[in-house]
Symmetry: C2
Subunit: 570 residues, 2 copies
């Protein structure tokens, strides 16, 4: 491709409303353009990258035996009513009426449509397992579309849905998909981690996210430094941080703590570590109007997802108001504690290991020191309540947890019978009985991968594409081509040779200054660059620079094709 005949419209300035680097660089490099909040057009350069990701996804899906189909964007309300999600899904679901006033939605996901399709097509267990996928436009009315295509309202996804006669068959396909997703991200050249994940609104039991590691990621992931264990922080199990609880040594003592409101205030006032204090949080119980007290070590954070999954606690989690707290305990937020509290008390595993600790006295501006479980108050239930932190023991017993940030690009679920039961998707089994199929579903954000790759691979000059995602592999930059016949001739000859060798090459034949051309080719992240200039050419040389190299080097013009082909194919 010649830049003069291409739509290459780069920008020098960082767009004002682009918060994250991938959004900034995608706009600056001319990969996408905003049409409306959350809606982006893909320009030629961006589309080339998107199609490469799409093709790798397709190849790896095909390799597992999954079969490609294509379902409509628009879906009739009836199917969503059948699954119960028409009511549940909330305002993220774009809803629309047709000219006959029939209700439809624009699919954010296709469980209903594919389950309806499969229940009509399949009759027998002999046709199972079946894994159907599509690479298709999805719509989601995000409350706050942001980060460019990372959190857009119209985006490209690969979604797959598998159907099984039983759990072992689902397990096998789930493993295949786990492997396929790892293959996809490995082939694309991305650093990633598959992590244990929550199933959220999709439902089901087992679930893994595929997280591309990037400092700017919205998710925190915890992984062992000595094993394969990895989980979204919200799902990572927190083990008790001490073994057996020591025996009490101090007496329970009430102390005045004027002005103390927070754990930090308290630790400072008493000159102790926050880890020797506990904090008490009141949350809504599962009975309407009831409250439950959660006790954590002062230096730990509550993991709301863990709490709301516990018996006796309302889901979604609600925090008690100042009024509710005062009515239930007789004190404000800063002076709560488990001693004498007439509420159900759930204690985090690590807090339950403390002895001689400090807590609020349920009277304003008073605390207790020398508090001990059993002796002074009962840890009625001990549960895992807290967010893991860097250095925690890994829940698989091997090594310690590291915490990194990641961008979720894939998510696989064991759905079980959630949809097939609601929608009566059944086949005849070997004994001729009607059985409900078991399902899995597997999503990967094709457009989001493009942004995630940039978050992970960029420098101050622009994008640094992994080879498999680069829109072009090689940029040929002739200097002063319009004036130097030798330069023009060499550039054209190399362009022809590389194209003939099947290399995706971009010839920058614009009549621009060298600096402009270099900056553009670096901004758009082309992995390899050959500069053709009069001076080097007189010595039979051309100048090579890899996108990650700090310096360029001269190579013989006559060897340049062979040399580059070796690098490009290696």
């Amino acid at each position: 491709m010649r830049t003069s005949q291409y739509l290459l419209t780069t920008q020098k300035e960082t767009p004002a409303d682009a918060e994250v680097i991938s959004h900034q660089l995608m706009l600056r490099a001319g990969l996408v353009r905003k049409l409306a909040a959350g809606f982006y057009s893909w320009l030629p350069l961006g589309l080339r990258v998107l199609r490469k990701v799409e093709q790798v996804v397709r190849e790896e899906m095909d390799a597992t035996g999954a079969i490609e189909i294509s379902m409509p964007v628009m879906q009739p309300a009836e199917l969503w009513q059948e699954s119960g999600r028409w009511e549940q899904y909330g305002p993220e679901l774009f809803r629309i009426k047709d000219r006959q006033q029939r209700e439809f939605c624009l699919g954010p996901t296709h469980e209903e449509v594919v389950t309806d399709l499969v229940r009509q097509e399949l009759k027998s267990y002999k046709q199972l397992p079946l894994n159907l996928y599509q690479i298709q436009t999805k719509m989601r009315d995000e409350i706050r579309p942001r980060f460019g295509i990372m959190r857009g309202r119209e985006f490209l996804m690969k979604d797959a849905y598998s159907f099984h006669i039983d759990q072992p068959s689902l397990d096998a396909t789930y493993r295949d998909m786990h492997r396929a997703y790892s293959n996809i991200l490995t082939r694309l050249g991305l650093a990633f981690r598959p992590v244990i994940a929550d199933t959220g609104s999709i439902g089901g039991s087992t679930s893994h996210e595929f997280q591309v590691l990037a400092d700017s990621g919205e998710d925190e992931i915890a992984f062992s430094d000595s094993s394969d264990y990895a989980a979204n922080v919200e799902m990572a199990e927190a083990l008790a941080l001490a073994g057996e609880r020591p025996a009490p040594r101090e007496p329970l003592t009430e102390i005045a703590t004027p002005g103390v409101r927070t754990i930090d205030d308290l630790a400072q006032a008493l000159a102790i570590e926050p880890a020797l204090t506990v904090k008490t949080l009141l949350v809504g119980g599962s009975k309407p109007g009831s409250l439950v007290a959660l006790v954590l070590r002062g230096d730990h954070q509550l993991n709301p997802l863990k709490a709301e999954k516990l018996e006796g606690i309302a889901s979604p989690l609600t925090m008690a108001s100042e009024e509710q707290v005062r009515a239930a305990c007789g004190a404000g937020f800063g002076s709560l504690g488990p001693v004498g509290l007439e509420l159900p008390v759930i204690v985090d595993r690590s807090a339950a290991c403390l002895a001689d600790f400090v807590c609020g006295a349920n009277r304003d501006e008073l605390h207790y020191t020398g508090v001990n479980w059993e002796r002074d108050c009962s840890p009625q239930r001990i549960e895992d309540l807290r967010k893991v932190v860097q250095g925690d023991p890994s829940p698989d017993g091997q090594g310690r947890l590291q915490i990194k940030r990641g961008i979720e690009v894939g998510h696989i679920f064991q759905l079980g019978r959630k949809y097939s039961e609601a929608m009566q998707a059944r086949v005849l089994d070997e004994q001729g009985r009607n059985v409900t199929m078991t399902m899995g579903c597997y999503g990967i954000g094709v457009s989001r991968i493009v942004a995630a790759a940039i978050e992970q691979n960029h420098d101050e000059r622009g994008i640094v594409w992994p080879a498999a995602m680069a829109p072009f592999q090689l940029a040929i930059v002739p200097l002063n081509m319009q004036k130097s016949a030798a330069v023009a001739e060499c550039a054209e000859a190399l362009y022809t040779q590389f194209r003939a060798a099947g290399i995706e090459v971009l010839l920058d034949d614009r009549n621009e200054r060298p600096g402009v051309k270099f900056a553009d080719m670096e901004l758009i992240g082309i992995p390899h660059r050959l500069v053709i200039g009069d001076r080097a050419l007189e010595e039979g040389k051309v100048e090579y620079k890899g996108r990650r190299d700090s310096e360029s080097c001269l190579i013989a013009r006559d060897d340049s094709v062979a040399t580059l082909l070796e690098r490009l194919r290696g």
Copy 2:
């Protein structure tokens, strides 16, 4: 691919609600399934065909230098308000509000979005011409979705939009697109005609449709038997059917015609050819409440599109009511005529060549014979008013017109400045002046081509795919594979060999009766079939049958790969 691991769900019965053969066969062969009126899921077999069409379209577009982009399905109302189409487009436009109550539509076409994109990206005439295309999902709320994917509400289109500094540049790209569309349909193996077309609601001047010939087509096309001339019947120019008008020979004579209401009645009553009579139609004039009389030969039909484009006639065309006719002429529909009529009269070219003709006398149950223009009444204006018919002279003066039916699969337009003017899409020209760009747009119905191909290529046993569109090129059908080791071994060996040779082969390894397998492979239209059976195999033979062949033939098993590869690649 093995049928046992594929989603091959054919149906014997013709679906009740499928009116046209392509719809019936697409359902029966398991290419698509209906989700809701006008919305279809593409099953694996259908999607393979769709992707082949898509790829041919992409290659031919790329070959012209057009550049692929991808614009959102959802488009903000503001852009459509800017072009004026938000009000004009009517109920075919799906409209939707987001959670902030902002208005959007689901794009049936992308003139507004691409014009907005280009006006922001381009600054200079040096960046022109630019032809941007996408292959993308389109939405149109058809009042009566029907014929399966032929007239669906969600469909796949390639739409391209070109931008130019002047008309000659547009002309050049328009010619390139005309050629590309011809290449696409030729490569797909379809019989088609590019025809002169109306520009309709898209607007602009010059326009051509690409019509795939099929008896079931909704359009009629007229083309010369001796030249390249071809036009949609509604656009085909009708020449006068006789040269100089003969001199009058008969006197004007009033005759009683009791009970005569139609031209057929009249011709029968007088025992003359309908071609010697004229009919007079009253239509709305461009002044509100006014009427205009249109006179055509008795055997000709009015072409409403031609009439409504004439000066002085209301557009869209309205026919006068019986009351209006009686008030204006003093007689009913059956007795109108140009003699003594006090209305503007427009006469069709062929009617204007008549002498001594018969027409109504503007009094009920009376007609005139021996009517002659000029002597008895004035042909105030002579225009082309009629639909051409089979055998008419070709308007280019070469040969006679044939009429065939066609399915419109592509449409190219010279838009001129309709959108660029309304949306102020300008660049600087060579002299530094701000000039409005000139545009073209070019659509091809990717999904519709699949249906059109079936309408053109089928027989009583099913689909007969052209090679370039077939989902698989070769079916290997082993008989009794589950019991005969020799058959299984041969089938597997051939399957492996053909796959290694890059042939798309479907191995029908289902445990089904031979009749079922044969019927399925013919229904889904695989061009070549090899049957592996014990009896022939004992003689070292396998059975070959082409999809269009009436008989099969035996070929040596050892030569079968070489023989088939020759046929497949030829």
